[in-house]
């Protein structure tokens, strides 16, 4: 395995990404989008495409930059730092990774459009309050050469904005079976598909998708019928790792804002950052962030080098990132005091995004259990 240290290329990528999100996607941008009722800024997304970010996981012969999962994690982390909102994770990470596992012309075409920033994808997998692909109950009934999809998917990130949706549906077995699932790639405008954007606290696009006998052809199936998880698994892991990286960025952003505040704010005739109890808590938080950063770097490395053995590394990253982001935003709000509770101040946005990001594609408990299983208990 290669070193956990970033290469020169990676350091350059991070610096560039950091500069871009700081200048072009500060938290004020998210605030403006929220106040406008908009999930993200399409102009920002177009710029990301221009910089090649949308193609970070798209093969070069499909027009992508193919920089790998460590690079994707660096981008996601920097976006998390300023809460830059875009369909990056669902489109450029989950969909791109899933589609490159499919050797069809249609998939290659879609990958090209993803790289170009011309196509937004969403992943519709969960139906209940917790991430659980096996619990899929949504039916895809055979109908002639095709299928008819009926059921409800929820917590679909970028579901209301997406042009196309990856949908996991059941073609055999019953809810709870790991087998019998099939993955579909469906036009979001298809008849019978209703999309309701949920008013989630992070002001991002999460939608409930209701499928009422939506028609799908055999060409819409990704991979094999009844074996959709074989294809989707890599996309899920990539998404989990990238969300872990974003959460590390959220933690880092909240931490930086908080330490900055501790250095400036005076109370009782002292800088509050000179109070030892706050110093120790800030130092502990920094330690947690450092340790989580190692798990994130490792997840990217394993996804790039031995993707078939990535579940432990990915779940470790997501479990750690969830706990670390949680600690960072809780400490952030508390250390800011009253001002941190006001909507006028930015720290609350970090708390909201951390909560939502923690839930997406498996929370701490889900991933900690995956780690335990991988470690034999």
């Amino acid at each position: 395995m290669t070193s956990l240290l970033e290469t020169e290329d990676e350091v350059m990528l991070r610096d560039a990404a950091h500069g871009f999100v700081t200048d072009s996607a500060p938290v004020s941008k998210l605030r403006a989008s929220r106040d406008a009722g908009r999930a993200f800024d399409p102009a920002l997304w177009a710029e990301m495409a221009q910089m090649g970010w949308t193609g970070v996981l798209v093969p070069e012969d499909c027009g992508g930059a193919d920089m790998g999962h460590r690079a994707a994690g660096i981008l996601a982390e920097e976006m998390g730092r300023t809460l830059a909102a875009s369909p990056f994770l669902s489109t450029a990470v989950v969909a791109a990774t899933t589609l490159r596992g499919v050797a069809t012309d249609r998939a290659r075409d879609a990958l090209g459009k993803i790289a170009g920033g011309d196509l937004i994808y969403a992943l519709a997998v969960d139906e209940g309050r917790k991430h659980a692909p096996d619990a899929t109950a949504m039916q895809a009934e055979r109908s002639g050469n095709g299928f008819r999809l009926s059921g409800v998917k929820t917590f679909v990130a970028d579901g209301a904005s997406a042009d196309r949706v990856l949908v996991l549906a059941r073609t055999a077995g019953a809810a709870g079976d790991a087998q019998g699932l099939t993955l579909f790639d469906i036009d979001a405008a298809r008849a019978g598909l209703t999309r309701d954007r949920l008013d989630t606290v992070d002001a991002r696009d999460h939608a409930r998708l209701t499928f009422d006998t939506v028609e799908a052809t055999g060409d819409d199936v990704l991979g094999e019928v009844n074996n959709g998880m074989a294809i989707l698994q890599s996309g899920l892991r990539a998404g989990q790792a990238a969300m872990a990286a974003e959460l590390l960025g959220v933690a880092g952003g909240a931490y930086a804002m908080t330490v900055g505040y501790l250095k400036e704010r005076r109370q009782f005739d002292r800088t509050i950052g000179s109070f030892q109890s706050l110093q120790h808590r800030a130092a502990h938080l920094w330690a947690e962030i450092e340790v989580t950063a190692s798990a994130i770097a490792n997840a990217g490395r394993v996804l790039d080098e031995t993707p078939d053995q990535a579940q432990l590394a990915v779940s470790l990253a997501k479990a750690r990132a969830a706990q670390t982001a949680d600690l960072a935003v809780r400490e952030g709000v508390q250390m800011h005091g009253g001002i941190g509770m006001t909507d006028a101040y930015d720290i609350g946005f970090y708390m909201k995004r951390a909560r939502v990001g923690t839930e997406w594609l498996g929370d701490y408990g889900y991933h900690a259990a995956q780690v335990a299983a991988a470690r034999g208990f």
Binding site: T154, F155, S277, D326, G338, M341, M351
Partner: protein, 391 residues
């Protein structure tokens, strides 16, 4: 009338009878919420006639302020009688006829520090729900350092001229009067030079602006004072000694906020609520945390009971109230974190299938900040209770 057992039994029967008769059935057994609360004030609109009837019956008997002397509109109950009254109110599921910062905060301050004219002017209207009060302590930039009062009241001979700004003034936009800390001596050490001043919110120069929180709308406001002329008789207690009154009231406030953790979730066990979220308790992480929260919540409820017993026995609670405030608010935050975690994607909306859990969760984050941060509470415990040294 001495508090003999016989006399108290008779009191209990009488007060229970009165509650039964006076508190309309439609008000009873209802969950507490903004809709059920009666705050009073010049602009108050009752939600229904039953609320009005119940308040009027309580005013007639002085029961909006059970322990205040009758000459100020109270019922003049003894400590033992008041305990019985609360027990019967709880047993009969009757709501308080009136909520008010006047009853909770200003009244006790005036009774302890006010002169006779001030008591006569302000206490009876409070008991009748005619005047609604708000509290002006915090200032922008002061944070936990409440004694860092910059709003100044200049002595202009026949009046004070007030200039400055307060923040976190709950319901200032709906209040009729404000009691505030103002600086009357800029050269004195920080804790001296502060006075306790009463102001009619209709006085020219006072304006308010609501504060939006991370959890959404809030009762909090910013309140601005721009050359506000205040009669000198509105100063309570001794000039430059207002910090003594503030400290006295902070203890009250702490107990109120810390106690919030007890009555949550309608008295249901946390685990029962979680049990409604099918499958949530299968996760060992959630289950272990639910067990811990339940154990701590029950033990904290007993602690509230023990300290209440102590107060009722005439033993002071004093600085230990900082512990109740600290523990109750931190525990409440932890419980809501658990609920959010158990609710998963179903509770991420501002208003979702399980109600407005997300804004409640965000709102709990202020519990450990308002009324003195957890850090200030720990400082108080360390210095005043544990008597740890400063050098």
């Amino acid at each position: 009338m001495a508090d003999t057992d016989t006399a108290l039994d008779a009191f209990r029967a009488d007060i229970a009878q009165w509650i039964e008769t006076s508190c309309p059935a439609s008000l009873r057994n209802r969950p507490m919420g903004e809709d059920t609360m009666v705050w009073g004030g010049r602009r108050w609109q009752f939600k229904n006639d039953a609320q009005k009837d119940w308040l009027e019956a309580a005013i007639a008997r002085g029961m909006t302020a059970p322990r205040w002397p009758t000459e100020y509109g109270g019922a003049g109950l003894s400590r033992a009688q008041e305990k019985i009254y609360r027990e019967e109110m709880e047993r009969l599921s009757a709501p308080p006829p009136l909520e008010s910062f006047g009853l909770w905060m200003l009244g006790p301050a005036l009774l302890a520090f006010g002169n006779e004219e001030q008591k006569m002017q302000h206490l009876p209207p409070i008991t009748r729900g005619e005047i609604r009060w708000c509290q002006g302590y915090s200032e922008p930039g002061a944070g936990s350092d409440l004694a860092n009062v910059q709003t100044r009241a200049e002595d202009m001979g026949d009046h004070y001229l007030v200039n400055g700004q307060k923040i976190w003034t709950s319901y200032a936009d709906q209040a009729d009067w404000i009691f505030a800390l103002v600086r009357t001596d800029r050269d004195a050490p920080k804790h001296l030079g502060i006075s306790f001043l009463l102001m009619d919110m209709d006085t020219p120069g006072i304006t308010t602006r609501p504060i939006q929180l991370i959890s959404g709308k809030s009762p909090f406001c910013e309140t601005f004072f721009d050359n506000v002329r205040v009669p000198k008789e509105n100063l309570v207690g001794t000039v430059n000694k207002g910090w003594d009154i503030a400290k006295y009231l902070l203890t009250h406030e702490r107990e109120m906020i810390g106690g919030g953790a007890r009555g949550l979730l309608g008295g249901r066990a946390l685990g029962q609520v979680l049990g409604d979220l099918e499958g949530a308790m299968d996760d060992p992480v959630i289950r272990a945390e639910a067990m811990a929260c339940e154990v701590n919540s029950l033990a904290f409820a007993m602690t509230m009971e023990r300290y209440k017993d102590r107060a009722e026995a005439g033993q002071g609670v004093g600085n230990a109230s900082a512990m109740l405030k600290y523990y109750g608010t931190e525990l409440n935050k932890r419980r809501y974190e658990l609920l959010m975690s158990a609710g998963g994607s179903e509770v991420l909306e501002w208003d979702g299938p399980h109600g407005a859990l997300a804004p409640e969760w965000l709102r709990t984050k202020a519990n450990s900040i308002e009324g003195g941060t957890s850090e200030v509470m720990l400082d108080i415990i360390a210095k005043r209770v544990l008597e740890l040294p400063s050098r």
